[in-house]
Symmetry: C2
Subunit: 357 residues, 2 copies
């Protein structure tokens, strides 16, 4: 295992120490339980947004904390869910009196622990709404998931809701917006190589020198298909068409119903993309892919979207939701409307994404 | 070779096509000869800044074009110098009537071609100053270099001079500032793994599973020493001390003398770092190193700087001057003063670095 680390068990702790030293104007770090939070938290009267999940996907989530995005992020160990006490303490730290939105990627551990943390926070008098992100069109269920995995759309939801929270959205309106982003977004990833979790010390999976995996998860979970290596254009086409031609995806998710005071089942249906839609196109590096390759993928994606009548009105390109040193990429398309565009364009100042300030 | 590319010979062209499609608000791309330039170029009355070099180091240089940084960048093929005609056409395109500064990394091909391009541009009535960056403290001479290689300080010079050009520095003052940045900066890199140039199709060098190379160049040029893999703390200490304890480095470089109307030899001496200095600390990923590992390096670098009496007043962390998918990192320290801090803080809007706008 070749990594710039000291002891494998210290990776997350030392990463957080480095972040605290490097970016004191943007974030503070709380240790034991571990979470990253806005340097100016709590922001009185603003709905706070908390997310989290296993580490190894940097800059998501700790690098997405700051003005205009997350108020706090709870990092688990690499590829391991954070614990309810991290989420609870983060929620209490950033609550500015207007409630807290939990943005939760659909992985069983994250879902369970965020639900527990939300219940505990409510027990302490904090209003909490929870919205699940389950945008990965690759597979119906996965290794750590009932239903689709939460991937690229998570980052877009964090940015868009972060912008809306700054503009004064109340908790209910912000939860509705977050749900809309999830419903409007779909993703697909692929890997050329595996990654190595520090504590494991060896690659998560084996992928022969002439093969790749389409539809892979961000922890190396099995995708749709292994196949011989193809060109960037062919790979982009496979992923983009799978996303664009994905039919309406209907399922039931659990959300907190503030009126009833209980968790309820909510039916969601993601509408398929159709000609005339405006979209945000997000080309993401899995971490180890060189920056020179992403525009090659974007170029083909742009061509496919044009052919399908989808107009790319905004984009994002880079290593934003990564899988350690995995080589590969993912594509996310998010159907945009005026509200989403306004919130996307709003100023943001985080370690990983920054504009307008 | 596992890459998200089509034909190896089309990598740079297709990368540029993708950049043009994705970032029309920031850059335009000129093909044949190839260069990336500011969307609003030429900026009348402002000194323009042009850099360039082999591709494969993205976001440097094309991703560093925009308001507050470069006016144009000339990409060669991967790890190959751009040609004089690229540099000449870029220089003509962005000249706003106040002259053009060429920021040149010290590699023989780059130096020779930029000198030729500058001479041709002068022949067409454009005032051109050229400043060489040779900040790599690892080795005295290298594979493609007489003298030290130009690495991380290049990016810092581009940002600082870009800010100063926006503030109205004239060509002479800007060249002096750029020379000061070069004199004040020192770097050192290391690799855990090789990279693979697309046209070569196989790794540039072999590095056994338990070894690393300290002082490596950004094209995989030999460094100071190969050794058994060490911890992040040990690696950081080796590089940081090599930089901090590097003695005054004196050498002669060629610069254009506008008064004499000829290229002249200029003697430069980089002063060593000393306790009490303010520094900018730049922890750079070679491309394939996961984001989670950089703060671990930064944390140790911060500790070493403190011990040595160097105060980190600004920092930069991320994959900025990369070597394709190489795993590893480099450290750059730049001695700062009030002028450098002011220009570093100035607004910038490029693909790879952005703040204040």
């Amino acid at each position: 295992m070749k990594k710039l680390i000291n002891k494998p068990e210290d990776v997350v702790k030392e990463e957080l120490e480095g972040m605290a030293l490097a970016y004191p104007d943007i974030v503070k770090v709380h240790f034991d339980p571990d979470f990253v939070y806005r340097a100016d938290a709590p922001v009185k009267g603003k709905v706070a947004i908390v997310s989290g999940g296993g580490s190894g996907h940097e800059p998501m989530h700790g690098g997405l904390v700051g003005v205009g995005m997350l108020d706090a992020a709870c990092p688990g160990q690499v590829f391991t869910s954070p614990t309810p006490d991290q989420m609870l303490e983060a929620t209490k730290m950033v609550d500015g009196g207007a409630g807290v939105l939990h943005i939760v990627k659909n992985y069983t551990g994250d879902v369970m622990n965020f639900e527990m943390a939300a219940d505990m926070a409510r027990g302490e008098g904090i209003q909490v709404a929870s919205i699940l992100i389950d945008d990965d069109a690759a597979v119906k269920d996965s290794l750590y998931t009932a239903g689709r995995r939460g991937v690229g759309t998570t980052v877009l939801a964090e940015k868009i809701c972060g912008g809306a929270a700054e503009k004064g959205y109340d908790l209910q309106k912000l939860a509705d917006l977050c749900r809309k982003v999830n419903i409007n977004g779909r993703s697909m990833g692929m890997a050329l190589t595996s990654c190595t979790v520090p504590m494991a010390g060896k690659p998560t999976f084996d992928l022969p020198e002439d093969e790749m995996e389409i539809g892979i998860g961000i922890h190396g979970e099995p995708g749709r298909k292994r196949m011989k290596l193809k060109t960037a254009d062919e790979i982009t086409e496979m992923m983009a068409l799978a996303i664009i031609e994905d039919p309406a995806y209907t399922r039931t998710v659990r959300e907190w119903d503030e009126g009833k005071g209980e968790w309820v089942d909510v039916d969601l249906a993601d509408p398929p993309f159709k000609a005339g839609d405006k979209v945000l196109a997000f080309v993401n590096s899995m971490g180890g892919t060189p920056a020179i390759e992403l525009p090659i993928v974007y170029r083909k994606l742009h061509e496919i979207c044009e052919k399908k009548g989808l107009k790319i009105v905004r984009n994002l390109m880079g290593p934003i939701i990564t899988s350690l040193e995995m080589q590969g990429c993912s594509i996310t398309l998010l159907k945009m409307d005026d509200e989403l565009i306004e919130m996307w364009d709003a100023p943001v100042k985080t370690i990983g994404m920054r504009w307008g300030m």
